[in-house]
Symmetry: C2
Subunit: 195 residues, 2 copies
């Protein structure tokens, strides 16, 4: 399935770089003319979302119906510790069809894990959250920055978001698109650095 509509989730006490590292790469698909039809929406759990240290974002919508979207992107942050037990958010995430592309970075994995999308799958998260993630997946991967389990891709902590964004670009729009976008971003960490 061609990805045309991307939903970025935002919520209180998120880590902003978890979002923006991948947002920067993915928004360039349309901006740089690689596929001008690709659009995105910033969807919040609230009308205004304040990150861990005060940066305030106004999402395009609140709990918008996810049906029209082709890729759902879930960032992390300390707010996940509370939201992983938030019935409304978890029910909302469960509306995401199992056959559509889903990506998390950092502790966003806790949210999609609680919603059941990592059952039977390998996954990764921020290195300080490995134990928290363990109950929700088949195996916590601790030595890869990106874990691709088909429809569900998880990435490690914070700055892994840049790698995840470029990985999704390459997977869905091809290596030349990824190279073009990484050059525009002046990003040199991809393909993923070892260690």
């Amino acid at each position: 399935m061609k990805i045309k509509r991307i939903a970025f989730l935002v919520f209180p006490q998120m880590t902003f770089l978890d979002l923006v590292g991948a947002y920067d790469a993915l928004r360039r698909i349309a901006m740089m003319g690689i596929d001008p039809e690709v659009t995105h929406r910033i969807i919040g759990t609230e009308a205004e979302v304040v990150d861990e240290t005060g940066l305030t974002v106004k999402p395009d919508s609140v709990y918008e119906d996810l049906a029209p979207f082709d890729l759902l992107y879930v960032p992390g942050g300390i707010g996940t510790r509370k939201l992983m037990h938030d019935a409304r958010l978890i029910a909302y995430l469960k509306t995401w069809p199992a056959d559509k592309a889903l990506a998390s970075v950092c502790t966003g994995a806790l949210l999609i894990g609680r919603a059941g999308y990592l059952e039977g799958r390998r996954a990764t998260t921020h290195h300080r959250a490995y134990e928290l993630l363990r109950p929700y997946c088949r195996e916590v991967v601790t030595d890869q920055r990106i874990v691709d389990e088909g429809r569900v891709v998880t990435a490690g902590g914070v700055s892994s978001s840049l790698d995840l964004g470029l990985y999704l670009v390459e997977r869905h729009w091809g290596a030349p698109a990824r190279e073009q976008i990484a050059a525009q971003m002046e990003y040199r960490g991809y393909p993923v650095l070892p260690g």
Copy 2:
């Protein structure tokens, strides 16, 4: 001078990753207890700022007096092409004292260049903006990700913001602080990658 108060400038059609790459590192100085007294403010040219592709931020203030701050951070983005000719913004930037720390990433260099801070200095910017920057500095540096000219530090395009943030952390709070923060961010591109 010890840096205690950081001002992050935001403006229409900025590149969000230009801001957030360094914001993530610098906000951790306080968040991780390295110096709990360090604070920051997001200062806008407008009450709501929309980036190049629709992400909307509500700054803490609009054209707030810069006098109490110790470090001014200026991101880039396509909006700089218009704002570099905006009399109000350039006059505002000129209120920044020459002896205080000033940093730009990407085409943020065009703004601080127009305000006169790069006169007689070497500087860098996004690789597509070298020619635009040339009239405002002594030399455009094309082979360094970060150019440190004492009080004024400029960085290259977009993802250079992560390197700049960690560079400023190391310079003002020391290498152990930078290592601790880079580990928390799971960032492996610093010290700056060659090429």
